[in-house]
Symmetry: C3
Subunit: 197 residues, 3 copies
């Protein structure tokens, strides 16, 4: 691991523009309406990302694809992988392959810092904590990462326009004797790769 | 595990009605007031559920019982247990028995998706991540689950009216050599079952 | 562990004053503006604490020191440590020493319960879940805790004025064979103690 391959992660290097501070912008009803909309936008973007984590870990493809912009850009850099995808269509193909019947996903997004830049553009930082078992490969990966996202509002709904992350730490190791799962949702509802995905 | 025993978990199967989108509803002061109240309701419901997790893991029975509707319905389906309770009185008895001095509870509710349906009704989805040690039984259970709740506002305060969950994954195993706890709050303040609870 | 050393943790013992309930305070535009500001304050305080966790685990000292009041008081009581600091200057020195190149920090703050008491004062409860590896000492600490904080708004920005926590549980143990980290951000960007910090 060279320093060059582990860039500094701060608002500047992540390209996070903060937008106006969280203070009411004026005394008139028009200002108030814009301020209330801004708070609603922050809440809507949180719900968007919350749905994302729920949908991947439950292989809910039908809802998942409603969360992405058609031209979404994805770039995740892990310790031993790099995942770069362009466009919703390719992203959905790859998500379906990742969350198959021999996998167990546990992805939680913490600490949202959402900044609304305009009526239709926003960005956000999240702190990922995740564990992923791939039982067919006797492998487990766990760790944390910082996400930095761009969101766009299209036809009144916020969508993920761009999403990136880099690891704070990651542990990846063989897991030849995985735990006995007393419940395993994806075993039943994950992608059946033996059927061609 | 048959497919029938592991039903699909999505908004439709969980009975989640979404309510109006998070956009301001009008230009007049009455609309704005309703919109602000809706945002306050969402925040109040988050605080309600956050208090719930804090209170169970610290055996704070006095505050816990202020969070439930008298006619609360609970239905949790784990991998090796099913927990069905009706009414606050029975629920409190069972909570007291679960969080005893030989237990360590770690319950976190992530990813709230709260929908306010009217001035007094709302629902929400949460993503649970939990670990529970029962030292007296040398047992540990850990995993994740999706909650789907109904909330009701009574006398100006939101209460949990109905709460259900099903597992995404669960690992339950004997834990004959539990870790040495250098801090263990419930050992001091959990229910003393030797005293009859 | 004696009962005296493990005080009860509830809103009263933590000194948490709740402020007005989350209901709109009136029909006029002045009341609405104050209500919107209160919601913005809650969101700003969440972002403040979220930044805190991001900054410590990525050794982002430049941003971290913008989050604290000059006269911040810190008091954390763990199972085998007690950490008491007064003032931003000393706190920054100690944070720099804790998050060095042989450490891996994983700190998540869950379940915010923020209460705004006035235009410039607020408090909050958080539920910490953390793991800290100190590789140079072959040691790991993990567990949960309740935070109770006081916030103050200075020149339009919320700052942490006082922060305390006590453990719900803690496991501290030697870790002579730490995991192989496939990513380790602090190794590159944590404090270099061999250079005198």
């Amino acid at each position: 691991m060279s320093d060059e391959s582990v860039p500094v992660l701060n608002k500047e290097t992540m390209g996070i523009q903060e937008g106006p501070p969280l203070n009411v912008s004026g005394d008139d009803i028009d200002s108030l309406r814009r301020d209330v909309q801004r708070l609603m936008d922050i809440e809507a973007i949180k719900q968007l990302k919350h749905s994302y984590f729920r949908c991947i870990d439950t292989a809910n493809w039908e809802e998942l694809e409603t969360l992405f912009h058609d031209d979404i850009q994805v770039h995740f850099v892990g310790g031993f992988y790099e995942w770069k995808v362009q466009g919703k269509k390719d992203l959905m193909v790859q998500q379906r392959q990742a969350f198959h019947r021999e996998s167990v996903g546990h992805h939680n997004g913490h600490h949202p810092e959402i900044h609304v830049l305009s009526e239709t553009r926003a960005n956000g930082i999240w702190y990922l904590s995740d564990t992923m078992w791939v039982l067919s490969h006797e492998f487990i990966t766990t760790g944390t990462a910082l996400y930095w996202d761009q969101y766009e509002k299209v036809d009144g709904r916020w969508l993920v326009r761009e999403t990136r992350y880099r690891r704070i730490y990651e542990i990846s190791r063989p897991n030849p004797e995985p735990p006995q799962f007393s419940a395993h949702y994806l075993k039943h509802h994950g992608t059946d790769l033996s059927q061609g995905g």
